[in-house]
């Protein structure tokens, strides 16, 4: 066996050498070139995937099929040895070669720090957080599984190119079968196997690496790769022992490839559109773009309102909590409504672009009668520089509102007293500024109107999620807003404009999204004016493009390669798989992320997305998690 391993290793040497040579070239380019280094940071996962997959393919396809095509296989078969003793060293030599290339690649990545360019700040601090060996393992295990597929194909064919094609078809076919089964049987989908195996995304930020390098997932990945390797090696041995001149016709491979592609295109629409538990139970069109939902207990049991850009639409579930919701009254507001809140038994809406100078209007709506909501008063909030963007409207106490709006100067925090008449009077204002690297970034036109900030109120204090910092404002005395502290959240990094920073309070803990690295920062709010950092969730942020609400995380799922889904996660148990997949479906269905506040109503989850109100039935497990979080 040692002799054959030596022979195989010698034959693989140049392939491994080419792989490592590419790594050395990349390393050489990364050293002197800041520009290349910065660009490489953004595409490191692409490089890792390309080099890894190519190496796995090239090493695997030659193993047996190459010997058959050259005619040297008889040399081995006529030696006094068993098929296992032929295949074993062959597999091992390729696996070691693959490991060498993967390890070499990551050595190259770790050897030179990523430089973000402008200020020389290291941007790969997250990658450095992950031990090199763990990173190598995370990437190696799925690539080993891919290699084993090609190895199997090589064991049953007599042409390396056919083996490569067949291996790719088998690997993709397995994934495809899994996805199809997942569509048919939700329990299988809930295993989330592709996530364990293919969660390889490694931006320079290392976002997804943390998913994979948690011990649980690493163990799962190890088990899954081991199972695939065991299965493919057993099948290889069986085929090699019994069908020694087995040959797959090239036409069969072409047909299988076409069948796979055609199946991926044709089959999904033929499958059940969405499993019942994953589909919105009801979709209700709204008159304008939805901005969030508000529960209106004062108007009756099961009454709620959708805040839309045009105003307010009231619904009720009916006395039997039946769905779809019944449309009740509606009211329109001037300008473009961006946020709404319930205080003093009324709904307060904040609207932009309400005057010739583009100010902000706060509109109070009486909702005592769900069928006839009416505008009580409209108050102008002035004092902005240019056209302000509304970030949030929230309550400090039953009589005081807080309006957060961004203009050219910074973030205005205005405490407003809710008067009995429905008007508001400004009690105080605090201007919070922050040097935002995005303001000087290369995307000024994209920047315009981008709402990157977010505000959460809790126990009279405000938590402002800015571009790079979390700013804590003590608003327990609405007449005197005081900025108490700032907590740095992000390393300076230029990036594309992105959505608001997501935050939520659950169980007296403030969860704040940190984008680089993607993770959750948890702050204890026992003293709301002086939150204490209790920890960070070392994994990909479940808020990466998702929402936190009621202690649950709602985020787009990506485990289905032909569509998009929305999954719910428990922020208290970040290691866990999604609790529930709300829906899956082709992206053209038009589902996006929820806008504004979602609502938990009885055993249903409601949110607005674009100009629709979506109602999902929640399974018990999700209800329990929501109840626990609240």
């Amino acid at each position: 066996m040692a002799a054959l391993f030596w022979k195989e290793w010698r034959e693989n040497q140049y392939k491994v050498g080419v792989g490592l040579g590419i790594c050395v070239i990349l390393l050489a380019l990364r050293g002197p070139s800041d520009k290349f280094n910065a660009a490489f940071a953004d595409v490191v996962q692409v490089w890792a995937t390309a080099i890894g997959v190519l190496t796995a393919g090239v090493l695997g396809m030659e193993v047996v099929a190459g010997e058959r095509s050259r005619g040297t296989i008889d040399f081995l078969l006529t030696r006094p040895t068993t098929p296992a003793r032929i295949l074993g060293p062959k597999f091992a030599a390729g696996a070691v070669g693959l490991l060498a290339v993967v390890a070499g690649f990551w050595l190259m990545v770790y050897a030179v720090p990523f430089n973000s360019g402008e200020d020389g700040t290291l941007a790969n601090w997250v990658i450095a957080d992950v031990p090199w060996a763990a990173m190598v393992l995370v990437w190696y295990l799925p690539l080993l599984a891919a290699y084993s597929y090609v190895f199997f194909a090589s064991a049953v064919t007599d042409n390396p190119a056919e083996a490569g094609a067949l291996g790719a078809i088998l690997a993709l076919g397995t994934l495809y079968v899994y996805v199809v089964l997942g569509k048919l049987i939700p329990e299988i989908d809930a295993w989330g196997l592709p996530e364990f195996m293919l969660g390889l995304g490694v931006k320079a930020t290392g976002s997804t690496v943390r998913v994979a390098t948690t011990w649980t997932l690493l163990a799962l990945r190890f088990a899954l790769s081991g199972a695939i390797v065991a299965a493919t090696c057993s099948a290889s041995l069986l085929a090699f022992s019994r069908h020694r001149q087995y040959s797959v016709r090239r036409s069969s491979i072409v047909v299988a490839g076409f069948a796979l592609v055609a199946g991926a295109l044709i089959l999904p629409p033929l499958l059940p559109e969405d499993h019942a538990s994953r589909s919105p139970r009801v979709e209700v069109p709204l008159s304008a773009s939805g901005k969030g939902l508000l529960l209106l207990p004062q108007a009756g049991e099961g009454v709620f309102a959708a805040v839309t850009a045009a105003g307010l639409q009231v619904f009720s579930t009916g006395p039997l909590a039946d769905w779809p919701p019944v449309a009740r009254g509606a009211v329109s507001a001037p300008g473009s409504v961006e946020a709404g809140v319930v205080a003093s038994g009324r709904v307060w809406l904040a609207a932009e672009d309400t005057g010739p100078d583009g100010g902000i209007a706060v509109v109070s709506v009486a909702v005592d009668d769900a069928d006839a909501p009416r505008v009580l008063a409209t108050s102008a909030v002035a004092g902005f520089h240019g056209s302000p963007d509304i970030i949030a409207l929230d309550t400090l106490d039953d009589q005081a509102l807080v309006l957060a709006a961004r203009d050219d100067q910074g973030l205005h925090i205005a405490a407003l007293q809710a008067l009995e008449t429905g008007a508001v009077s400004e009690l105080s204002r605090l201007l919070v500024s922050e040097e935002d690297p995005l303001d000087t970034g290369p995307w000024p036109e994209l920047e315009a109107g981008t709402r990157r900030w977010s505000v959460t109120a809790y126990a009279g204090c405000l938590y402002l999620g800015m571009s790079r910092e979390l700013v804590i404002v003590d608003a327990r005395d609405p007449r005197q807003l005081v900025e108490t502290s700032r907590l740095p959240l992000e390393a300076p990094k230029r990036d594309r404009p992105h959505g608001p920073r997501h935050m939520t309070v659950a169980n007296g803990i403030l969860h704040v999204e940190r984008r680089w690295p993607g993770e959750l920062v948890s702050l204890d709010l026992t003293d709301p004016a002086a939150p204490v950092l209790t920890g960070t969730a070392h994994r990909n942020s479940p808020l990466n493009g998702g929402h936190l609400f009621h202690g649950l995380v709602l985020r787009p799922g990506s485990s289905r390669f032909w569509g998009r889904g929305m999954e719910v996660r428990d922020p208290e148990d970040l290691e866990a798989r999604p609790i529930h997949v709300l829906f899956t479906g082709p992206s053209e269905r038009g589902w996006g992320l929820p806008e504004g506040r979602p609502l938990l109503l009885r055993d249903h989850l409601l949110f607005t997305v674009k100009d629709k109100l979506a109602v999902f039935h929640l399974p018990e497990r999700l209800q329990a998690a929501a109840a626990r979080a609240n």
């Binding site: 008889d74 006529t78 006094p80």
Partner: protein, 300 residues
């Protein structure tokens, strides 16, 4: 212990609708030099591959050194040396590396013997295998097949593609090896005169079927050409057992008999023909005489 190095019984193997080996019964005595002759595609290589468990028979059984290849393939390969029709070796290795690599598969590898054979064939151990000529590569294959002192040497068309001189040297090496005691050599070839030179027994195979299996001299003796005078037409002779063909025109004709004996002469004379001379035939003519009647027959 069986007296046969190789024995097959009702061995069959087909590829698709083509029957490559058809009910083959073969016995190769130990210590013999056994020529396995047949035209290209007659089923020689298929038979050999079944003996080495490189192919599984559809039915029937084979025994090599008293062992069933399906169950004791490793043991058989330990005791058998094999040179394939077109020995494809690892070209990137040097001769020394390939010999060492091969040797690690055998407990009984005789390094000195292998080195001696390399010297005998004039093979430089430091030469890369891909730089060897075809003849040298064939000789190297022979070295690799002999390094572990096999009891049985199986050669599948060993001299195919070699020029005349190299072929003669190569066969001479085999002859030299034959002289070593107790070794059995089983080699297939379509070059009958080669086999005639070195083999003491031959089997003739055509379209997967065994046509003859006998000592060379006996086989040659079975087929004769008889020069006759005053014979009528061929149909007049067809009733004679062993009649194969009649050549020539006019008064003197040449009649070929397979399974020649005194009965054939008597039967010939009974037709009114006069036997002028009985001509001995070489193995090649014998082979042709055996095979010709089967050419063109269906195989499936």
């Amino acid at each position: 212990m069986t007296d046969c190095a190789i024995r097959t019984q009702n061995l069959c193997r087909s590829f698709g609708s083509t029957l490559a080996v058809d009910d083959l019964d073969l016995e190769v005595p130990r210590g013999s030099v056994f020529g396995f002759i047949g035209r290209n595609g007659a089923g020689k290589t298929t038979t050999i591959r079944m003996l080495l468990d490189l192919l599984r028979p559809d039915s029937g059984r084979a025994e090599v050194l008293g062992l069933d290849p399906r169950e004791r393939a490793v043991e058989i390969k330990r005791r058998v040396g094999y040179v394939s029709e077109t020995p494809t070796l690892y070209g990137w290795m040097t001769v020394r590396e390939l010999v060492r690599f091969t040797g690690q598969y055998y407990d009984t590898w005789n390094g000195e013997r292998a080195a001696g054979l390399l010297r005998q064939f004039g093979l430089d151990p430091e030469t890369r295998v891909k730089h060897l000529s075809r003849g040298m590569a064939a000789q190297l294959s022979l070295v690799l097949a002999l390094g572990h002192d096999p009891e049985l040497l199986i050669l599948d068309e060993p001299s195919t593609g070699l020029d005349v001189l190299v072929r003669r040297d190569f066969l001479a090496s085999i002859v030299h090896l034959i002289q070593e005691e107790g070794r059995t050599v089983f080699f297939s070839s379509h070059l009958v005169h080669e086999v005639e030179r070195v083999a003491d027994r031959v089997a003739v195979i055509e379209q997967g079927r065994l046509l003859a299996c006998a000592p060379v001299d006996e086989l040659k003796g079975q087929t004769k050409k008889v020069l006759v005078r005053g014979v009528a037409d061929a149909p007049a002779l067809e009733h004679i057992a062993g009649f194969q063909a009649m050549e020539g025109e006019g008064e003197r004709r040449l009649v070929t008999f397979a399974g020649y004996g005194p009965d054939a002469i008597a039967a010939l004379q009974a037709t009114g023909a006069e036997v002028v001379e009985v001509v001995d035939m070489g193995l090649e003519e014998t082979f042709i005489a055996l095979v010709r009647p089967h050419v063109g027959e269906g195989r499936a």
